[in-house]
Amino acid sequence: MRSEEIKVCVLRIEGTNCEDEMYQAFRELGASPEKVHLKQLLGKCPADMKRELDDYNILALPGGFSAGDYVRAGAIFAARIKSELSKDIRSFVESERPVLGVCNGFQILVELGLLPAFEGTMSEHPEAALYTNISGRFECTPTILKHESRGKCIFTKRIEKGRMMLVPCAHAEGKLMFAKEKEEKLLAKLEENDQIVFRYVDEDGEYAGYPWCPNGSLSNIAGICNPAGNVMGMMPHPERVVHRYTHPDFTRTAADVNGAGDGKAIFESVIESVKRKA
């Protein structure tokens, strides 16, 4: 399969607002992304605009404030998907096709039960929550991530374990939490299943808490995948650092300004894994 044959559904509703850069990230790697409104998948549109989820190879849920996030981040978008697209999305995931959720997209995947999905493809109720940052504020800030996956996650196959990456955050609700009484057990389960993909660290690679971890997330976790490794959600925005020149410190480091940004490897990994599988 050639890159341009890889069709990416960049799914959006009102308030999704990071679709342009998500689209652009896939486009620059040679794939064929398309911005698709949820109503186009549900058939609630003129005939020429209708789309089928099954026709795509990758599903990407970009960041933003879908439907305003007035209830709980991601809850409304997730509810709309769940009520009318549950079957399609389940079979999409079960056919081992990749699903990426960034920021609000991560929140939606958790609300949908596609993450962490300890039992089966899609849990009936959310098993985790992305809760209000410990600062109580929206935090737009560069963060440093350490790659923690031991190899399960298909979005990071090209990234060596332990590598540090600069990927910016911008969210008000990014603190990963489990129910208090299950926290220890479920965290151990995430570890055991190789579901922890990224953690926030300081410039020396240490787990350091706020402000290096901008939200106070459990165990400094920034991104997780499902047990199968084909669904990944992360709060930081890799699509904002596909190029070195969007790194916040590009004017002061020796790295080649024309080189790849730290987020690019995520998109390369998933495209490569789709190609390899085909």
Binding site: H37, G64, C140, A170, D249, R252, V257
Partner: protein
């Protein structure tokens, strides 16, 4: 006195009155203006009467309300137009593509960029969260209606002091409450619509206690072939109202904005503040851009001040046509609005499209996909009249020329002589320079604005190259300008910077106006940009007072002459008058938003010091000019000469510095402004997390002047030490080698004497913390 007897209810099944201005006495005309919330003067009321006498009937309330909107200061610039015509409208520039609701400039062969800034001061003083949010909403629509994708928001804000107790007149809110509400409003609206908030600033002064200023700016990018007219094309076009529903929020916004704020303004005018809904705006942006780029529409304009009453008339007039509107087709938030309320409501998130009839169906489908309302409410007709019907009854029939040609005044203006050295009252200063610097760094006007910046998503859209803060992660210092890269397939960028110094302008209006341009240009050049265009928001007091109008005139002259000398276009702008509460007027505030072209964003420069051992130069001449300086403000100085602007020196300095940057000689660069060289140097150390060793003896001035003067047209430059010789040769303007990068301290000597010595970590602490502590 009541004027009820002059309001004659028409016999129709809805609320409509005809207003008997024919039999009204002068006193009754005044009362009518007041009771109906028209804010028209007696002369203006008489002019309305004259017109209707010629027509031969009395006006309906819809008509008279509509005239009040169109003739408000906010809409027709009746006090400032004569001055603007003399100084600003005649600025010539070949690269202006449009002077519509937003100005549009050439970006490259195929693209233009849109720019505009305006005020949302009065609403924000009453309801800071909603006022600021809808300010953003309005400015985004101004850019959108040019067919441009909004790509950046700019928010210069001005409040009363937050670091001391203030006496609040009745009805006014504390500065802290206002700051917190306004920043939250910008955050929640800007972040939700997904347009990055990339530049701005927060300024504090006693004069803003009763008159907070919330200026809101937006830039956008548009394919030149997609540039839209804010006009209909011709008869047969349909008016399609899209976006939010119409309600009672935002009634009389423009007439309220055109009067002084009073103790009871909140009670009287709460309803003048609109309600924002970013999650209607976000899809509205998509849908409007989609129908435009598909070539489906003839014209587009946003509904802002004056609502439908302004947009229909202006679109029709600009297209040389008339209009017929069925006002009862307008989708409402609630039943029971009187026709005049529907006609003038400033409810948010609405746009008007003009499109040929046969294409309407497709447009409605596209809006339906986004669940955004789109409703045909009228048609374009030949002639020059707007006619409104409501449930079949004609309720409005006005000549467009009369409606939109508001009055224009040449009010008396009194020039104020500028402050000079003679009247200078030098403040009593602490014994050592360390104390002065630390105090300046923690002054809220200079201290880090990270508290606000981190709450704004300044990177959404993924195109922000130089961010508002720069340097080592979690140790960042300030940037001079922000740079965005609007197009995926081009390295060309736009630098955005704010220039404003109200304290200078208060002491010397002309120099203050010119300083705004100098500062915006300095900032743009500091990141590697070429100053290209400006837009401005002029915030002043009551123009009916001659000294206020004098300030306005001189400040405009200073700003405009600088633009002309530097070949900067000024394709859009905004004037906000009556920023004058019972406590007095706000400082004369000339907010300039400067735009610069960056040829290649990969060559941008930031303020943070980079390499130990690199030499540090001051570019430009330092003069003993302290009028309006941070040193005087913080330590209680008065008067003094305001820094002048030598436009030729500015032009040459920018050219040389840009040349040196192109030749890769410059590693970091920061403009010298508030707090002078000392503060600029401290900020460069903070971002770079490295010290500097300086020797002031190369500057032929007392240490105090060298460190704290705010003379214009100056920068601090870190030069690549391997290219120092080239740099010195390239700079055909005064430059002074003042030291080198290195160590963990900012250490300032004058020959053998230590002038100042501070750990960078201590400087950071003093600069970073104040706003977090004051605003929590």
């Amino acid at each position: 006195m009541t004027v009820d007897h002059l309001l004659i209810k028409r016999n129709v099944p809805f609320e409509l009155y005809d207003v008997d201005i024919f039999s009204a006495s002068d006193a009754e005309l005044r009362d009518l203006s007041k009771d109906l919330g028209l804010n028209l003067s007696l002369d203006e009321m008489k002019r309305v009467r004259e017109h209707f006498k010629n027509v031969g009937r009395i006006p309906s309330d819809v008509e008279i309300q509509s005239l009040a909107q169109a003739w408000s200061e906010h809409c027709c610039y009746k006090s400032s137009k004569a001055i603007l015509r003399e100084h600003v409208f005649n600025i010539q520039n070949d690269e202006v593509l449009s002077k519509g609701d937003a100005g549009v400039m050439v970006f490259d062969d195929e693209h233009g960029y849109a720019l505009r800034v305006e005020s949302h001061n009065h609403p924000s003083a009453i309801e800071p969260y909603g006022g600021a949010a809808t300010g953003i909403g309005g400015i985004v629509r101004d850019v959108l209606c040019m067919g441009a994708q909004p790509i950046g928001l700019i928010d210069p804000l001005f409040f009363g002091p937050i670091d001391k107790q203030v006496d609040l007149p009745n009805g006014m809110k504390t500065p802290k409450y206002l700051v917190s509400g306004v920043v939250s409003g910008i955050r929640d609206y800007g972040n939700r619509i997904g347009i990055p908030t990339i530049a701005g600033g927060i300024w504090f002064d006693d004069s803003y206690i009763g008159n907070c200023l919330v200026n809101v700016g937006c830039i956008g990018i548009v394919k030149r072939k997609d540039l839209v007219n804010n006009a209909v094309k011709g008869p047969g076009d349909m008016f399609i109202l899209v976006g939010g529903r119409t309600g009672r929020d935002g009634i009389h916004g423009v007439t309220f904005a055109s009067a002084e704020l009073k103790e009871n303004s909140e009670e009287e005018s709460r309803g003048a503040v609109q309600l924002g809904d970013p999650i209607t705006k976000e899809p509205l942006i998509h849908a409007c851009l989609e129908v435009n780029s598909a070539g489906l529409i003839h014209g587009m304009k946003d509904l802002g001040g004056g609502g439908l009453s302004c947009v229909v008339g202006e679109m029709a007039l600009s297209g040389g046509c008339g209009a017929e509107v069925d006002l009862d087709k307008v989708p409402l938030k609630e039943e029971g609005l009187a026709p005049w309320e529907i006609w003038v409501s400033e409810s948010q998130e609405r746009m008007m499209l003009a499109a040929p009839k046969k294409i309407v169906k497709r447009i409605l489908e596209l809006f339906d996909l986004w669940d955004v309302n789109a409703t045909v409410i009228g048609t374009v007709v030949p002639g020059n009249e707007v006619k409104l019907r409501f449930k079949g009854e004609t309720i409005f029939q006005l000549d467009l020329e009369f409606l939109t040609k508001g009055p224009e005044y040449c009010r008396p203006a009194k020039a104020k002589s500028p402050q000079t050295k003679k009247g200078e009252d030098f403040p009593k200063l602490p014994g050592d320079f360390d104390k002065i610097l630390l105090k300046l760094l923690s002054d809220p006007n200079i201290a880090s604005k990270e508290w606000a910046i981190k709450q704004y998503d300044h990177e959404v859209r993924g195109n922000t190259i130089i961010k508002p803060m720069t340097g080592k992660i979690n140790k960042r210092g300030p940037s001079d300008a922000t740079v965005v890269k609007p197009l995926p397939d081009s390295f060309r960028g736009l630098a955005v910077a704010v220039g404003v110094n109200p304290w200078f302008t208060a002491l010397d209006a002309y120099r203050g106006g010119a300083t705004s341009i100098d500062e915006a240009c300095r900032n743009i050049v500091a990141v590697g940009g070429r100053p290209h265009a400006i837009t401005n928001c002029l915030n002043f007091g009551n123009p009916e007072k001659p000294e206020r109008l004098g300030e306005l005139r001189d400040a405009i002259a200073g700003m405009a002459e600088a633009c002309k000398a530097l070949n900067l276009a000024a394709p859009s702008g905004n004037v906000s008058l009556y920023n004058e509460a019972s406590t007095g007027a706000c400082l004369p505030t000339v907010t300039v938003v400067g735009l610069g072209i960056v040829d290649d964003i990969r060559e941008c420069i930031t303020t943070d010091l980079k390499e130990e051992g690199d030499p540090i130069y001051v570019v430009g001449t330092t003069k003993p000019q302290f009028g309006g300086s941070a040193l005087f403000r913080v330590f209680g100085g008065k008067g003094g000469e305001v820094p002048d602007v030598d436009l030729e020196a500015l032009r040459r300095s920018m050219e040389c510095l840009r040349g040196a940057m192109k030749g890769r000689m410059v590693r970091s660069c920061h403009d010298i402004s508030d707090g002078g060289l000392a503060v600029a140097m401290a900020e460069m150390c903070i971002g770079g997390d490295v010290g500097a060793e300086l020797d002031l003896s190369v500057l032929p001035l007392p240490n105090l002047v060298s460190l704290f003067s705010e003379s214009n047209t100056r920068w601090v430059v870190e030069v690549d030490r391997a290219k120092e010789k080239e740099f010195v040769e390239a700079m055909d303007v005064p430059i002074f080698k003042i030291g080198k990068v290195g160590g963990k301290k900012l250490k300032v000597m004058n020959e053998d004497a230590v002038v100042l010595e501070q750990m960078v970590s201590d400087l950071r602490e003093r600069w970073s913390k104040p706003l977090w502590e004051l605003l929590g």
